[in-house]
């Protein structure tokens, strides 16, 4: 009897562990956010090829046409992957030693192949020998295309109104 209980308990634990480790859509989206942050970050020691590769990889995390909206800059526009890659390269040149991180990530799934993300983007870096930190609230949407979750829009949430 004890042996049966141990076997049953082991099977239950193994099943629970299997489902826990199974990559869920939420885990995949969080992983993509980590990748986006990693590709957008620069150490100041990145070579040209590495910088180009990171910019391209970051752009490939987005859909072919990605909407970016920053109200305070009067910007609401669709960007292609090439445009995004070019802008990331410009950003890396302006902020050559900057770390991007996403915190407080909340993900909602209104549909099976679509999700909305609300997160805080933190920047920590150095410009002209001066350290800086900055943070922004971002809303993003992702869509599932061929099993991969890609970013289809980014909106800067401007909750502080001058």
């Amino acid at each position: 009897m004890n042996r049966k209980i141990v076997i049953l308990f082991t099977i239950l634990c193994a099943t629970a562990l299997f489902f826990f480790l199974l990559p869920s859509d939420e885990k995949k989206i969080r992983h993509n956010l980590e990748l986006l942050a990693e590709y957008s970050s620069s150490t100041g020691e990145d070579g040209t090829l590495s910088t180009l590769s990171k910019a391209r990889n970051a752009a490939n995390r987005c859909t072919e046409s990605c909407t970016i909206e920053f109200k305070s800059f009067n910007l609401k526009q669709q960007f292609s992957r090439n445009d995004i890659s070019d802008h990331i390269l410009m950003l890396k040149k302006m902020l050559p030693d900057t770390r991007f991180t996403f915190n407080d990530i909340q993900i909602n799934f209104p549909e099976e192949d679509k999700a909305f993300i609300n997160t805080t983007l933190s920047l920590n870096g150095k410009t002209k020998n001066q350290r800086f930190t900055d943070a922004y609230e971002l809303k993003s949407s992702v869509v599932k295309i061929d099993g991969d979750w890609l970013f289809s829009s980014f909106t800067l949430v401007e909750f502080i109104e001058r």
């Binding site: 915190n103 407080d104 990530i105 805080t120 943070a135 922004y136 949430v157 909750f159 502080i160 001058r162």
Partner: protein, 119 residues
Amino acid sequence: MEPAYKDGSFALCWRLQYFFSIPKRGDIVTVRFAGKKVMLLKRILGLPGDTIAFRAGQLYVNKHKLNEPYVVHRSPWNLPERTVKAGHVYLIGDNRGTTMKMHKFGQVEISRLIGGVIP
């Protein structure tokens, strides 16, 4: 928020502050972004219905010059008068040595305030 709070220093957030009281002018508060891990630290300088303006770096609240002993460095900010909406407070940092463009300040919904700061 220098000089009141130095870059890299620690402060505690009293999350129950606004359970027992309402936000007051002069309170130093934490303001959330998407969550509570990363927050802004600012001072409340305008309450709902107040008018706020800057003239040559001097803050005017309801058309009266506000005495601000906590501000050490003051850049010549100019901001036309605006009214704080209902349910909002006007937040400004103490470190006014930067250009106005570089400083995050303005009115936010009171619901975004996480709490007061100790000390």
